[in-house]
């Protein structure tokens, strides 16, 4: 293994090894709980990365799709009495289908208009879930019971870990596929991509549907882990969170979403001791990160590595 490969895969393999044995290295129940949530949210952030990081369309509706997935699963198992796994697959497909409908409307707009349209959609979903009592349970929320196999916390941890890895694999495949290159072409230069024969609207909608499918998956896992759903599962603040995770980690990078989600979510959980002041500190840190590290942690590390490697090469050359 060359040094280049070691750098590329070493960190990943080390992290994976730790992740595989995490429940058995003596961490507290609370900590494991936090990590499971971070894993679920990192799937949602990866889903946002497809549409925002790779395709360049800032969607503020990711929280809504998370909620649609979660409520879809709950309603399909509770009201329709479907098998859990069937319901989960169906919930993700429904989320993708809603994404298709919204995409058809929203992608007629661009830039700031698109941001506002998606944010409004998220708000509508939240209010509808809150008020559509007989279907969603309204503000009382509703319970959700998963399969017996995943009643234990450790089992749910491995389930989430599996889906995080699966999503990461999907992201990796997308970023190297022709479709993925199409997404990035749309992001980098829309008129040029259009001139090259890429169907812009079609590309955006495909990216959006994949993104919604995965957001729905995250919602299903969130519902399974919490065991209880309330309208806050579809709140637009959730969309803000996902965007913050993505930007802190690094939009348009493979590991950025996971790094960002774990960094921000864990930091906020650890800062719970200082009460609500943590949001004040977090707000200030957020402003500084966006101003001084606009490419996020992973993007920042990448350019730092390039600089170090570049100067080393220059020294060797001299």
């Amino acid at each position: 293994m060359t040094a280049e490969n070691l750098r590329k895969y070493g960190v990943f393999i080390a992290a994976l090894a730790v992740a595989c044995f995490l429940p058995y290295i003596g961490i507290s129940k609370f900590m494991l709980n936090v990590i499971i949530y971070a894993g679920i949210f990192s799937i949602a952030t990866m889903s946002l990365n497809i549409i925002m990081g790779y395709t360049g369309q800032v969607s503020l509706a990711q929280g809504a799709f998370y909620g649609i997935g979660a409520y879809g699963l709950a309603i399909l198992t509770n009201k329709a009495g479907l098998n859990f796994w069937m319901a989960m697959l169906l919930a993700c497909l429904i989320t993708a289908f809603v994404g298709l409908l919204i995409g058809l409307l929203a992608f007629r707009t661009k830039g700031p208009y698109f941001i506002i349209v998606t944010l409004c959609f998220n708000f509508i979903v939240y209010v509808v879930i809150k008020n559509w009592d007989w279907l969603s349970g309204g503000v009382r929320g509703q319970k959700i019971t998963g399969p017996e196999l995943f009643a234990g916390r450790e089992a749910r941890y491995y389930l989430v870990l599996g889906f995080v890895l699966l999503t990461l694999f999907i992201m990796w495949r997308i970023s190297r596929s022709l479709e993925g290159l199409g997404f990035m072409a749309v992001r980098d230069n829309e008129p040029l991509a259009d001139a090259l024969g890429i169907n812009i609207t079609y590309t955006k909608i495909v990216a959006f549907m994949i993104s919604c499918f995965l957001a729905g998956l995250a919602g299903c896992l969130g519902a399974l882990h919490t065991g209880y759903l309330s309208p806050t599962s579809a709140h637009y603040l959730l969309s803000f969170n996902f965007i913050i995770y993505l930007l802190v980690g690094g939009a348009g990078t493979l590991y950025g979403p996971i790094v960002g989600t774990f960094t921000v979510y864990l930091a906020l959980e650890f800062m719970k001791g200082i009460g609500e002041y943590r949001f004040m500190i977090f707000g200030i840190i957020l402003i500084l990160v966006v101003i001084y590290f606009p490419r996020g942690i992973v993007g920042g590390l990448k350019s730092l590595w390039k600089k170090v490697a570049g100067s080393r090469q220059a020294e060797e050359g001299a």
Partner: protein
Amino acid sequence: MSYFFQQLVNGIMLGSVYSLVALGLTLIFGILGVAHFAHGHFYMLGAFLVFFLSVSFGVPYWAALVIAVAVFCLVGVGIEFVYRPVRDKSDINAFIVAIGMLLVIEEAVRAVWGTGNRRITNPYPQVLKFAGITLELQRLIVIGAAIVLIVLLHLFIKRTRMGSAIEAVAQDREGAALVGISVNRVSILTFSVATGLAAAAAALAAPLAFIAPDMANTLVLKAFVIIVLGGLGSIKGAILGGYLLGVMEALAIAYISPAYKDVWAFAALILILAIKPNGLFGGRD
């Protein structure tokens, strides 16, 4: 029929507040391209400043209003400096800075005044009765003062050099810079005027309802809806859009369902943008 007119007047009152907030936002977002999502929080902060002055210090209402507006014009200068490093970056960077800013403001207000609702004593609680409509005097003052402020802003932009500079930057930022207009100074001025307007709107409307740290959460969303509907950077669009949304909302609460009151506006926005992707009044790309 008098019920309808009653709701109409309520809607116009609501629309006055929306217009003032949206005006500031359209100047900032439409002209400078900064998605100032914390604008509503400065409205909330303005309400709390008036509360602080009038309740804790016993400053008369109108004096508190003037002080609040003056202070917030200065605060606007500060906001501009926070945004300056991200002003020419992509929309989302400024948006995240705004989220950071609103987290700080909301928690600061919670830390100082607690999470509960507060109330500013209504300075003009007299009730007017006219053709079957009952109206608190303060509501009439909100409507009247909003019109005065809108006319003043119009005169400022059309009749003064500084105002013309704002309009020049709005029309063509590079062109304005080429003829020697300092974009930074215009930017400071814009934030100052916009934040002052938000404080004025807050000071006017605050005595009519409770004030709380989370009072501005949907307000800023609505302001964004208004300016997008009106066309980004369009002052006329922001004013008309504000009144339109206010009236629409009041009528929807009265005749359709209060639970879904916020949904109509947002649903209408999605549909209108699907048909006219650049807003009702054209707007810029």
